[in-house]
Symmetry: C2
Subunit: 211 residues, 2 copies
Amino acid sequence: MSTDHDRVSAGRPQGRRPGASSSRQTILDAARSRFARDGYAGSTIRKIADDAAVDASLVMQFFGTKEQLFAAVMSITPGALARMAEAFDGPTDTLGERVTRAYLGVWEGDPRDSEPLLAMLRAAISNEQASAQVREFVQERLLDARGSRLNNDTDMTLRAGIAASMLVGVIVGRRIVQVPALVNEDLEALIARIAPGIHAILTAQPELRQR
Amino acid sequence: MSTDHDRVSAGRPQGRRPGASSSRQTILDAARSRFARDGYAGSTIRKIADDAAVDASLVMQFFGTKEQLFAAVMSITPGALARMAEAFDGPTDTLGERVTRAYLGVWEGDPRDSEPLLAMLRAAISNEQASAQVREFVQERLLDARGSRLNNDTDMTLRAGIAASMLVGVIVGRRIVQVPALVNEDLEALIARIAPGIHAILTAQPELRQR
DNA sequence: GGCTTATCTCAACAAGTGTTGAGTTATGCC
DNA sequence: GGCATAACTCAACACTTGTTGAGATAAGCC
């Protein structure tokens, strides 16, 4: 029954080794930029393949499907998320500035951090997978990962959710919609203007005045 | 050369009158909801036509092109915009609450106001026309339309641009991404939490502290 | 050299897109 | 009634999309 050489000699691999080429990483980089610029629906496999100087079907062969390629692009930002979450820890009187600086800083820094986040934002509009990811990003990772020791839990969760949404709004205005007033300002000036607002959200008593 | 009856008797119309049917408005309503729910790219002429119980080519005949249909959907919210802009006028000590209430109120009220704005937001991601419209919305209409008499002009423009972006961010979190903490809270509670932050943005001195 | 496996290209499919043109039905004026 | 015009439907177009299968080339082990 068995030929003179068994097909695979007990675990030892044979033939060409996977990962020898750099194409996979090139495709991933191209996809990251495309998704960030054109969103999920606007990015096509063919365009991504062209950017990577590669045939479209190679993209499929590596990543299986467009959604899986997108998922691969999304899952490369644990560091940036941690930096934003950590900003909540520390002295209360500089809380607003720390959080504001951490958020805007990530979005202005290394494209390998900001592009997946931009892609996530753009895609959240048309793609349920991305929408869920933004939801989790704003809600859970920023709070549940740390013990949230500032106030009682549900109140601080709400405050942080609002603050995060607001900062994401600023990013949308600056990076996606490109509101002139936000684009023209440099980062430090923007932080100086925004920090008091975020500080108030995170620390102030809610206004009970009834209109 | 001329027959016994001239083709058109000098301006007086003849034959069936335009606008007799209600289909045009039905199509417009369907398009408004679709664009708000699925964005520009995600909404197809055929789906909109189906919602309106009408053939797809009738949509084209009425509105010419998909972009023009989208433009028609966008151009029906002057009242809502005015309400948001007017909130900037009034006593300074309740400024944050007024602006916050006006913004969130429009987005929670009549779908004929909120749906085009949601559609505008969703489309701003993939459609340059909509992106320009959001830009103008955040930047100009909220300020240039009124004389902006609170502070010196460019400073107040920046403050209002930031505040508007932040409030749009809250809308995105509540209506699009649907962050649980924002969705579960009722409108008044949300306003009470957000107003102090917006107030600080619009009135506070920028933090000059240098980290 | 052979053999096995991975990387990569080519051509094509099936489905869905916006859009078009011809034809049909309904409405209103003479 | 007849006639002009609008409202509306049907079928098809040209194109793009994600995805697939077969085949060619290259790399690593015997």
